[in-house]
């Protein structure tokens, strides 16, 4: 009888204690479940798209590089010496009357031609800094592009830079198509070079970062007021650029950049021991650190055993059962407020620039796409963004895509150097957090002022 009572007593006591047992599951549990119930096809498509964008970018760069090396350099240089162009007195160049490609002789511009230039400037043509004459009767067999490049090649760099590729191209095009035999005048004061040219440069961009929150329903993001608990931060981007002129008005810009983005998560208090002793018993937990912080841009997995975190405003700090058992917060010193999430990407942009006007200083409109690969997702204490990371943000997509747009102001310096000043906006078109981690989507965006220098070849 006593044994029976004893058994029931054990059963009852264990039942009372364990029947209603509740415990916080690990933060990554939902992520695992969500991934398991999601279809895998979407994840497979991203790398393929990235590879396609990268392949197109490499192809374009390769084609223009080849074009530049073999047509604009070696082949052209051999023929430049044979070209029969003589500059008008307005241009301070020595005459060089020789035969053109194929051995044909091209006559030097006559005195009449020079007079025509003078007359042209007198009858209201744009007063040119220079004028370039060529007898196009003998050029009719030449391709327009070849004509334009070759003609420009006669001029020294500094002068060539002042000849409008567009105007020369249009003039030559008209002459060749009409084959009228008229003497053509190509003059300009613009600062563009002919198309097919390539420039390389570097840029530095201070950048203002934040994100757009877009819920998938009315319920999304409603439990935690992220908008009031997270703030924008300033970061920077550095990179190398290549500019390839596709046409007189269109330029392709690509390259590689090291981009920093992120946000500041406020109203998170951190505590530490006055002697900076570890706050957790490493023997009890199966995880290195028992705390996480929910943010709109993923969950932060904290990893510094010297810090304990508490949320001042809502329930963003998750603490599992291994957290600082028996610790007395009163004995700890309050540390900095808030944490900063930083996302570092390597980025390959493919941006098209359209020339709006060019009067010494060029103003261009630009737009395109950028593919970025996540390099680092460290989290820092306070407003620090460089030293002593305290954890990482989990659930961030490895590949991301963004739309890029803005204006570009190109200011010629000396020789072939150009200074670029480009107010630029960038918006992620793919949510930065993997599907299923959050109930809504966060799309980071940034406004930057790209400043850089390029050298044109």
């Amino acid at each position: 009888m006593n044994k029976k009572v004893d058994q029931q007593y054990i059963d009852r006591k264990f039942r009372e204690k364990l029947e209603g047992l509740e415990a916080n599951p690990p933060v990554e549990a939902w992520l695992s479940i969500s991934e398991a119930i999601s279809k895998p096809s979407r994840t497979a498509a991203v790398p393929v798209f990235f590879r396609m964008v990268a392949a197109v970018a490499v192809l374009i760069v390769s084609l223009f590089s080849l074009n530049f090396l073999f047509l604009n350099r070696s082949g052209q240089n051999a023929e430049i010496a044979d070209w029969p162009v003589q500059q008008a007195p307005l241009i301070d160049l020595e005459p060089a009357p020789v035969t053109g490609p194929g051995g044909q002789r091209v006559e030097s511009p006559s005195v009449t031609d020079n007079a025509a230039a003078v007359n042209a400037s007198q009858i209201g043509q744009p007063s040119p800094a220079m004028a370039f004459f060529a007898d196009l009767n003998r050029m009719s067999a030449l391709r327009n592009a070849y004509l334009e490049r070759t003609a420009l090649s006669f001029l020294p760099f500094t002068q060539r830079g002042e000849i409008s590729g567009r105007d020369t191209f249009e003039a030559a095009n008209e002459a060749v198509s009409g084959n009228t035999g008229q003497l053509m005048l190509a003059s300009a004061t613009d600062g563009a070079r002919g198309y097919g040219n390539i420039s390389f440069g570097a840029h530095f961009s201070p950048q203002y970062n934040y994100r757009i929150l877009r819920g998938v329903s009315d319920m999304s993001f409603s439990d935690i007021p992220f908008q009031s608990l997270e703030e924008q931060i300033m970061t920077y981007t550095v990179g190398l650029n290549a500019f390839i002129e596709l046409s007189p008005r269109w330029t392709l810009q690509t390259g590689v950049s090291y981009m920093n983005m992120g946000q500041y998560v406020k109203d998170i208090m951190s505590y530490q021991h006055p002697l900076r002793l570890p706050l957790y018993n490493s023997g009890t937990g199966q995880v290195s650190h028992p705390q996480s912080i929910i943010t709109s841009q993923g969950n932060i997995r904290l990893a510094d055993p010297h810090l304990y975190f508490a949320d001042n405003q809502s329930y963003r700090v998750l603490t599992n059962r291994h957290a600082m058992e028996g610790a007395n917060l009163q004995s700890l010193t309050e540390s900095q407020e808030g944490v900063t999430q930083v996302f570092r990407f390597v980025e390959v942009p493919v941006v098209f620039r359209y020339t709006l006007f060019e009067r010494g200083v060029g103003l261009r409109l630009k737009g395109g796409l950028a593919a970025s690969y996540l390099l680092n997702n460290d989290v820092f204490l306070g407003h620090d963004m460089m030293q002593n990371p305290i954890g990482k943000t989990t659930g961030i997509r490895q590949f991301n895509f963004s739309a890029v747009g803005g204006f570009a102001m190109d200011i010629p310096l000396t020789g072939n150097l150009t200074f670029h000043l480009e107010p630029t906006g960038q918006l992620f078109i793919s949510p930065i957090v993997r599907e299923g981690v959050m109930t809504g989507h966060a799309y980071p965006y940034g406004f930057s002022l790209q400043t850089g220098i390029s050298y044109g070849f």
Partner: protein, 171 residues
């Protein structure tokens, strides 16, 4: 698609703490508990449309988790030696002080039971299964179920040692 995911997340947020508690009782470690939790919620989401509102949703979900734990046990049992399945001699633990006996420690004691004893004890003492139901669920005989339960109790009692009576009074 997205709204369904939101609903799933809300359901998860609502019941994950309770279900994880169940998982911890049936598992020997947090990793194992997390496996049961994941498998259980996948089944819940998969079969949610079959819930007709008969009985409480929590009870329905709870049954799925208990069944998941049983199936996990059945999967594991083929890979375990007899000693691991149930052998009093394998169970070694230091005495516990009165001050340390809280829910966490009780859970730890249960988690350290040999796997079959743990299953039987959970199903009988906490879920309220009969020996016949336990025998069918675990594919063992009723007498084995009774024997396992008795041994589980003996281990638990031994575990709590001489201070058991005092400790239980203090709970």
């Amino acid at each position: 698609m997205q709204s369904r995911k939101v609903d799933q997340y809300r359901l998860y947020a609502m019941y994950s703490r309770k279900m994880y508690g169940i998982c911890l009782r049936y598992a020997a470690s947090t990793d194992e508990a997390q496996d049961i939790l994941q498998e259980g919620f996948i089944r819940v989401f998969k079969h949610l449309s079959s819930y007709k509102g008969k009985g409480s949703l929590e009870g329905w979900i709870r049954r799925i988790f208990v069944n998941t734990a049983i199936e996990k046990y059945r999967e594991r049992i083929y890979h375990l030696s007899v000693d691991e399945v149930g052998n009093d001699g394998e169970f070694v633990h230091e005495n516990m002080g009165v001050e340390a006996l809280n829910v966490r420690d009780i859970l730890t004691v249960v988690q350290q039971l040999p796997v079959q004893y743990r299953m039987v004890f959970n199903l009988y003492a906490i879920e309220g299964y009969s020996h016949k139901e336990i025998a069918e669920a675990l594919d063992i005989s009723e007498s084995t179920a009774r024997s396992n339960l008795a041994r589980a109790r003996r281990i638990l009692k031994h575990k709590l040692n001489k201070e058991f009576e005092v400790i239980l009074q203090a709970i």
